[in-house]
Assembly symmetry: C2
């Protein structure tokens, strides 16, 4: 099982996350002959600033501040589109929000565990879940092509806080 759930839910050297993500992104760009432009890089950085998914218009605001100029929605959505295509970020459908992908190279199905309290989202790639979903699809004669798997609940930190307060 591949996951960043421990990392997400704990204090950690966050600069490293961002730098690692950026390095991976640059490598991927070279590989795919794609361009990592300032806007795209800024969006990627923002999506790694926290382990919480950000909406397009939150990104717009932050981007405008960061680059110190007005940014129109299409600019944001173009960067998002680009990063999605490279697999560097994911879209979380139930939140209309976007988040950096911790393991962009691996072929994986993105299952998210999203905290209802603090908003953090950890990604998990769980082989047996995927196998089971494949099996279930096969049984139904359904040709599986892609999937949206989003679990909502409480992250370890928020759960323990809730318990304390009882």
């Amino acid at each position: 099982m591949l996951t960043n759930s421990r990392l997400v839910h704990q204090a950690h050297d966050h600069g490293r996350c961002i730098n690692a993500a950026l390095t991976r992104a640059l490598d991927l760009c070279v590989e795919r002959k794609a361009r990592m432009t300032p806007t795209r890089e800024a969006v990627l950085r923002l999506l790694w600033q926290s382990h919480q998914p950000l909406g397009a218009y939150q990104l717009q605001d932050q981007l405008a501040t960061l680059l110190d100029k007005t940014i129109a929605p299409p600019t944001v959505y173009r960067a998002i589109e680009f990063l999605l295509q490279l697999g560097l970020i994911h879209r979380i459908a139930s939140l209309n929000a976007y988040i950096g992908c911790p393991f962009p190279n691996s072929d994986h199905s993105n299952l998210f565990m999203i905290c209802n309290n603090c908003g953090s989202a950890a990604e998990v790639a769980h082989a047996s879940i995927n196998e089971l979903l494949q099996t279930a699809s096969d049984k139904a004669n359904f040709t599986l092509q892609s999937q949206t798997l989003e679990l909502f609940g409480l992250c370890p930190q928020c759960a323990s806080i809730e318990n304390e307060s009882k």
Copy 2:
């Protein structure tokens, strides 16, 4: 495994689906002391007209035609909200669309298999998938509360058509 996938993907007496859904809905309303008003009933019917999820504004159009008066968005969303709360319909997050629930009484996790070609959506309640998701959550110390599970691909009919044309 509880599913309506065979039904969804085959020709069948559709009037029955609707009537059955309506009967269940009325029972549930009595049980919960909720009111099944004309608007709510119309929305429920529309969501059972096909096994394809409908967006709120598609519902608005069809509702306006059906009731022969102009319908404003809040009216639609209120009916949707009501039906969602009773568990009579589901929201499909990746499509921003709504669909009738085939087994509203059972306590289940709504996994959908959605056809990328014809748009049909079958619901599946699969105990072992739920168990596995619960186990995965436990391992991550994540307190699971709800889930969005949406599989995309080709339904049996559309898949076989694709194969023929090769």
